[in-house]
């Protein structure tokens, strides 16, 4: 510890300030990423946005009444304003039948407008710059220090760290309650956990967190720290604990990266933090392993490619049988390039070989094709016998279904058939190939 402090003291003041800026932003990111994850899960992203605007008048009144820049009166005022906004919007929705989004919009814009006007009216008494409240002032807040353990620690780092610990404690203590009321409010209520109380507790914590983060990133961009990490983490995982940890990590990267980039380009820290957070989200949205857009597209391609392969194999099988040349021709429904690609792939997998003037099935390829044709004909039999579909309605349906039938399922279908050795067109139903 001492060694660390000495090393730190040896750094140049500019580097020290930058480091502190990063640490402050990371502390803010910790608490907001934790709570923001719950907002994302509860589909209350816009409530977070609304609260971050609505706390402004509470902040100003708290400041005016205490007359100092002490954190606690401002926190209290902001928490009250945030809860009042939540309550009023809910009240408007219920008792005055204003649509939910509209109710939120009316209340939070009014609160915010009131806050801005209060700041302007009392500008002489309030040492509170609208710009600072709106956009934050990370760089300057790192300079306002207090001496602890031989180190000059910025006050805002202490307050943000305290709020982060508070939020961590809140999440830890109410872990079960928050989880149940987030995923299943009705179940929570039947278990005797008041979803309403949990909701207001969460809203209150969000309000406190938002105010504490004001100095770091400002009222407008705290929403980036609240929502973006949670949403990014939600793209990676389905487990709550993993999601919270991931969200905090995402928030830290945004905080550190944003601060450093802001120094590099000599621009606003808050702006760069949200840009970095946005870049992380964009990356996750594109490339997350399961829920990313690229993965989605790849899954779609893989699926389509499997169907092309299977159709190629099945056509060769039918040609070998020599019974369904006309049908087999009609089956050439994929693009030539796709079929060519499928043949190359199948050859590499040793399911096809080159034969005189064309292609032939190998043992493995024949087994796969046989299972497919078997599924196809069994399903035709099923549709004909059980659903009494006419003969010319069978092929299209079976041609789709064949790609989804497992051997076990095919066996179950076979059990229900009267005519098990041939399909309704009179073609032989091959047995399940031995593996």
């Amino acid at each position: 510890m001492n060694w660390l402090a000495e090393q730190f003291a040896a750094l140049s003041p500019a580097v020290q300030a930058t480091l502190w800026t990063v640490l402050i932003a990371m502390a803010a990111a910790t608490s907001s990423a934790l709570l923001g994850s719950y907002l994302v899960l509860r589909r209350m992203g816009l409530v977070g946005d609304a609260i971050s605007h609505a706390v402004l008048p509470g902040l100003v009144v708290g400041f005016l009444m205490s007359g100092t820049r002490e954190l606690w009166p401002m926190l209290l005022g902001a928490a009250i304003a945030g809860l009042a906004m939540t309550y009023l919007a809910e009240w408007l929705r219920r008792h005055a039948q204003v649509e939910a989004g509209g109710a939120l919009g009316v209340v939070f814009t009014s609160f915010f407008a009131l806050g801005v006007i209060l700041i302007n009216l009392y500008a002489s008494q309030v040492d509170l710059d609208p710009g600072c409240v709106l956009y934050g002032a990370l760089g300057t807040s790192a300079l306002d220090t207090i001496r602890i353990l031989g180190l000059d620690v910025p006050r805002s780092f202490l307050s943000l760290g305290a709020v982060a610990l508070l939020d961590l404690a809140f999440v830890a203590v109410f872990w079960k309650e928050l989880k149940i009321s987030s995923f299943d409010p009705a179940l929570a209520t039947t278990l005797g956990i008041s979803a309403i109380v949990m909701n207001y507790l969460l809203m209150g914590s969000v309000a406190v967190t938002v105010v504490a983060g004001f100095e770091a990133v400002g009222s407008i961009l705290i929403i980036a720290m609240l929502i973006v990490p949670g949403a990014t983490a939600h793209l990676f995982t389905d487990r709550l604990a993993t999601m919270l940890v991931t969200a905090v990590l995402v928030g830290w990267i945004a905080a550190a990266g944003g601060c450093l980039l802001a120094v590099h380009f000599d621009t606003s820290e808050a702006g760069m933090i949200s840009v970095v957070a946005g870049a992380e989200f964009a990356l996750a949205a594109l490339a997350a392993p399961r829920y990313g857009i690229a993965a989605r597209i790849l899954r779609g391609f893989a699926f389509a490619f499997r169907i092309v392969q299977e159709d190629v194999l099945a056509r060769l099988y039918r040609l070998e049988e020599g019974v369904a040349v006309r049908d087999a021709g009609a089956l050439a429904m994929h693009r030539p390039a796709a079929e060519r690609l499928a043949r190359i792939y199948l050859r590499a997998r040793r399911q096809l070989t080159r034969a005189a003037g064309g292609w032939a099935l190998t043992e493995r390829g024949r087994a796969r094709a046989q299972a497919l044709v078997r599924s196809h004909r069994l399903w035709e039999g099923y549709l004909s016998e059980q659903l009494r579909l006419p003969l010319d309605h069978l092929h299209e349906a079976a041609h789709r279904m064949e790609h989804y039938m497992t051997p076990q399922f095919a066996e179950k279908v076979e059990e229900r058939l009267v005519q098990r050795d041939a399909d309704p067109h009179g073609r032989r139903i091959p047995p399940q190939p031995s593996p």
Binding site: L39, V40, R43, M44, G45, L46, G48, D49, H53, L92, H95, A96, Q97, V98, E99, G101, G102, G105, V106, T109, S110, F112, A113, L114, V116, I117, N120, L121, A123, L134, Y135, I220, L221, I223, A224, I227, V228, G230, A231, H234, L235, A262, F265, D266, T267, S268, A270, G271, M272, I273, S274, V275, A277, G278, F281, A285, Y291, G292, I293, R296
Partner: protein
């Protein structure tokens, strides 16, 4: 100095027209449940403004065009993210809003530090709104765009109406729903962008939400709502810009928004049918009507034993039967007397006292008993009949414990089918408890039987 300087008059005209356009288009946004999308749109304009400034300098038209481009890009991104990822629309709005605005902020800070041009103030004015800096050319631009927006809404009125009230039906009928939605977004974007110089990015969404939400309290139906929201918007814009002109320290946006909030508050309180005062009055009336019915039933039950003779009912006895407070019961007695349902009477004790000691009886003040009048008996029998039919129904058909439901509150004729009602009356008649001496089923005054079936 004249009351309105030329410049002020122009600003006033611009904000009024802007308010009208945003009120009209806001109605569509609110009904399509896209209210808060306007917030994302407004915030997403900032990077466009800054980029346009970097590329073209401070040209009003170029700045607004840049704003329009990134604003629409932001909204499109919200739609794409909601469609292709698992993240829900609310979070996507928050993400686009904060990231675009953050990017814009970084750009504007960069411009501030690196541009020799003092026109950076022009960008800051966009954030909270600043009407003072506008010149005539800017306002002509704003007015043209506002008129164009209103004109397009008029042109596509029928299509938008269908889109707002039944998009599925519109799709089934073959309307180009997606393209109409895009047109609506485009109109929203244009409105937001022309509103930015006056109201500012942060609060522009209020111009789209508050006037329509306020108008909803007064009227129903799309066309009246649009007109009223437009009028409210115009009023808000005018009042806000006048105030901020004469109190120059205040940024225009918040002042305009607070004017809108005041209008909303007035609507919320005083609107004739949907306002909360009107609702509270309706609730009070309903409670009173219910109390009167309950009391009438008690009067009938108290008189029932002596029927067809109308017995004198001692007031003390009535108070004992009444479940609520004595004060309420006394008020109800007074109300029934005024309505001509009760007449003064004498209890048997008092009559006996009068016979034995006339002087003592005369000394006792007031009446101690009442009696139903003929009209009152009819009313009371009706109330009791409804009560018993309903109670009987609930016990036999719905198996609901009679403690749970308050039978005085319900209009049985308007709820139950006629055949069920007849059966219930038959049951009560056989049990000898049908009020009105087993008279045939009658409708309550003003309630046609057909309604009940």
């Amino acid at each position: 100095m004249p009351f309105l300087e030329y410049n002020t008059a122009i600003v006033l005209g611009g904000t009024t027209l802007l308010g009208f356009a945003s009120g009209v288009i806001g109605v569509l946004g609110l009904l399509r449940r896209r209210a808060l999308l306007g917030d994302a749109l407004a915030h997403a304009t900032l990077p466009g403004i800054c980029l346009a400034f970097l590329l073209f300098g401070r040209q009003f038209g170029a700045l607004l065009f840049g704003a329009l481009v990134t604003g629409i890009a932001g909204v499109a991104l919200v739609a794409l993210l909601s469609r292709y990822t698992r993240i829900k629309e609310d979070a996507n709005i928050g993400i686009v809003l904060s990231v675009f605005f953050g990017g814009g902020l970084a750009l504007s800070t960069y411009i501030q530090k690196n541009s020799v041009d003092a026109a950076q103030a022009g960008i800051n004015g966009f954030i909270l709104g600043r009407t003072a800096g506008m010149v005539q050319a800017d306002l002509i631009f704003i007015c043209t765009a506002a008129v164009a927006v209103c004109f397009v809404v008029l042109l596509f009125y029928k299509e938008f109406k269908l889109l707002c009230f039944d998009p599925d039906f519109a799709a089934v009928e073959g309307w180009p729903v997606v393209r109409l939605d895009f047109l609506l977004m485009l109109l929203l974007a244009v409105t937001v962008v022309i509103g930015l110089p006056a109201v500012g990015i942060v609060l522009m969404v209020a111009m789209l939400i508050v006037p329509p939400a306020a108008a909803r309290f007064w009227v129903a139906g799309l066309a009246p709502m649009m007109w009223l929201a437009g009028a409210f918007g115009a009023l808000t814009g005018a009042a806000g810009s006048l105030t901020s002109t004469y109190a120059a320290d205040l940024p225009a946006g918040p002042v305009i928004v607070l004017c809108g909030s005041a209008l909303f508050l007035i609507s919320l309180l005083f609107a004739p049918r949907r306002g909360i005062l009107a609702r509270a009055r309706d609730r009070r009336r309903w409670r009173k009507r219910r109390a009167i019915r309950g009391f009438l039933r008690i009067l009938y039950e108290a008189s029932e034993a002596a029927l067809p003779e109308r017995a004198a009912l001692p007031i003390a006895d009535l108070l004992g039967r009444f479940p609520g407070r004595a004060r309420e019961a006394e008020a109800l007695v007074a109300h029934a007397a005024r309505a001509g349902w009760l007449e003064r009477a004498e209890s048997e004790e008092r009559a006996a006292l009068r016979r034995s000691a006339p002087r003592a009886a005369a000394a006792a003040e007031g009446d101690d008993a009442v009696r139903l009048t003929a009209a009152g008996l009819q009313k009371a029998a009706e109330a009791a009949r409804i009560h018993r039919l309903w109670q009987h129904y609930l016990r036999t058909s719905a198996h609901i414990d009679r403690d749970i439901v308050d039978p005085d509150a319900e209009e049985i004729e308007s709820i139950l089918p006629r055949a069920v009602l007849a059966q219930l009356e038959e049951d009560l008649k056989n049990a000898g408890t049908l009020p009105g001496g087993g008279a045939p089923v009658r409708a309550l005054a003003g309630l046609p039987r057909e309604l009940a079936t």
